[in-house]
């Protein structure tokens, strides 16, 4: 189960990479293994405001549907349009080509409540 050291994580099995004021968000290797083959992803639209901890989309696999949450407050500035035609990129490269959306983090806020790789790794192990 891959848990890259340079990323931060959420309880909802998402990863966050923050550079300057832009957060790139996707779902973790653990999440893709639990979901199975992803067949559809519904991403928030560019320009939409998102709130930390609130659902903003859906990830659908062969057998299940899971909500997608925003880990940060801000505005969606980019979505990965490759996923329209090839949602399987999420399974193939959850941390790379399978990235999902980017958020410009709201002024004056910081991303709080994110887990370190060690904390996230422990979470996945306790989940069984």
């Amino acid at each position: 189960m891959s848990v890259p050291a340079e990323l931060r994580y959420t309880q909802e099995h998402e990863w966050v990479s923050i550079e300057a004021d832009t957060a790139t968000i996707g779902i973790t290797d653990y999440a893709t293994q639990a979901l199975g083959d992803v067949v559809y992803v519904s991403l928030p639209e560019v320009g939409v405001a998102v709130t930390a901890g609130e659902p903003c989309g859906e990830v659908e696999s062969t057998k299940s549907v899971s909500e997608l949450y925003s880990p940060v407050d801000g505005e969606v500035v980019e979505v990965n349009e490759e996923l329209d035609d090839d949602p399987g990129l999420i399974n193939a490269e959850p941390y790379g080509l399978g990235w999902m959306f980017r958020v410009r983090v709201a002024d004056g806020t910081t991303a709080t409540g994110l887990l370190s790789p060690t904390e996230y790794d422990a979470l996945t192990k306790s989940a069984g």
């Binding site: 293994q33 199975g36 067949v39 659908e60 062969t62």
Partner: protein, 364 residues
């Protein structure tokens, strides 16, 4: 009532293969080993192995076994020749379906009834009562393992490890023989819409048989396929699943399976009056096939809407179809079954086209 989950004889094999396990009908079963889409495609293009040891196997024996089953089931098992099998159903007196089954005639006076894992105890209880005085009923599930090889290349692979002439075996036939030197009942049946064989054996022989079949697949070995692939394969093949398309609230006629009800057999059978009435008045709902136009998948329970937006039915099963490249679903609708229909997928109505079943036919 025990709530412990049961292992199949192949549990350690699944763990070695890295399967994601799931609880199903009281059994710990492999859901998928890697990509369920790859497992599905392996069955359609090559072959794959399934552990089906969770299924129920009930032996019905004695000189009156055939007649007893004619009374207990909708079908006409007494007319099966030895070595032949038939898909049939166990119905309640009101015509509702209690389970769908395959009955194999293994000898003049021995039939093997294969039931869904979730319904084995119901089938056993009903057969015991209905066949009372006419046949001996024995639950052999605990002493029977089941390994299945499904896919166009399966026959060729199996032929290298069995003494049976499987290549010339008819579809829905079975015979006693050996696989990997172990005694087995081998039947040309399956739940995938491909050619394939189901191998009934002693639990202790499941692993040697599985290993021998795996090795026939060459350097990489034959792939294994789990319950997720089993579900998408049967759905593409238009085969019903008990608990989705079949249940106590529908008769075989609603499911489009009136052919399993042999009203032409002599003598009474459980459900005859109700089923004859339903046959005469017509089904109360129609099972249809639907093709989704977007990637969003219609799922069990989602409402089916008419063009005017009225609810006219509900989805019974839905999944992305690897072979068709779009979502497919089955649904019961009332009244006119022509469509066009919309499906309420979590608050948004998605258009769907009506299509005939099966979605996929290997002969075409």
């Amino acid at each position: 009532m025990t709530s412990t989950v049961r292992d199949t004889p192949l549990r350690t094999v699944h763990e070695r293969l890295g399967a994601t396990m799931t609880e199903f009908a009281g059994w710990l079963m492999p859901l998928r080993y890697g990509s369920e889409t790859a497992e599905h495609n392996a069955v359609r293009t090559n072959a794959a192995l399934f552990d089906l040891s969770h299924m129920g196997e009930i032996a019905v024996t004695g000189p009156g076994a055939g007649a007893a089953l004619d009374y207990a089931l909708c079908g006409w098992p007494s007319r099966l020749a030895v070595g032949r099998a038939r898909y049939t159903m166990l119905c309640a007196p009101d015509g509702g379906i209690l389970d769908d089954l395959i009955v194999y005639r293994q000898a003049d006076e021995r039939f093997l009834v294969v039931a869904n894992a979730a319904n084995t105890s119901v089938v056993l209880a009903e057969l015991t009562e209905r066949c009372s005085g006419g046949a001996v009923i024995a639950d052999e599930s605990a002493v029977t393992g089941l390994v299945s090889i499904q896919g166009p290349n399966g026959c060729g692979f199996l032929s290298t490890v069995t003494d049976l002439p499987v290549d010339s075996m008819q579809y829905y036939a079975g015979a006693y023989g050996t696989v990997a030197g172990r005694p087995a009942w081998v039947a040309r049946t399956g739940y995938t819409g491909e050619d394939g064989f189901e191998i009934f054996c002693a639990p202790a022989d499941c692993e040697p048989i599985w290993d021998a079949l795996t090795a026939t697949g060459g350097a990489g070995g034959l792939p294994a396929a789990g319950l997720a692939a089993r579900d998408t394969l049967r759905l593409e093949a238009g085969m019903p699943l008990y608990g989705n398309e079949l249940g106590p609230d529908v008769t075989p006629y609603e499911a489009g399976l009136g052919r399993v009800v042999r009203l032409d057999k002599p003598g009474d059978f459980v459900g005859r009056e109700a089923l004859a009435a339903r046959a005469a008045e017509g089904p109360r709902a129609t099972l249809i096939g639907l093709l989704g136009n977007s990637r969003r998948v219609p799922r069990h329970g989602y409402a089916v809407l008419s063009a005017a937006g009225d609810r006219v039915g509900a989805v019974t099963s839905g999944a992305p179809s690897p072979t068709l490249g779009r979502p497919i679903a089955m649904a019961y609708v009332e009244g006119e079954a022509g469509g066009p229909f919309g499906i309420d997928i979590r608050g948004k109505t998605e258009p769907a086209e009506v299509t005939g079943l099966p979605f996929y036919d290997r002969r075409k």
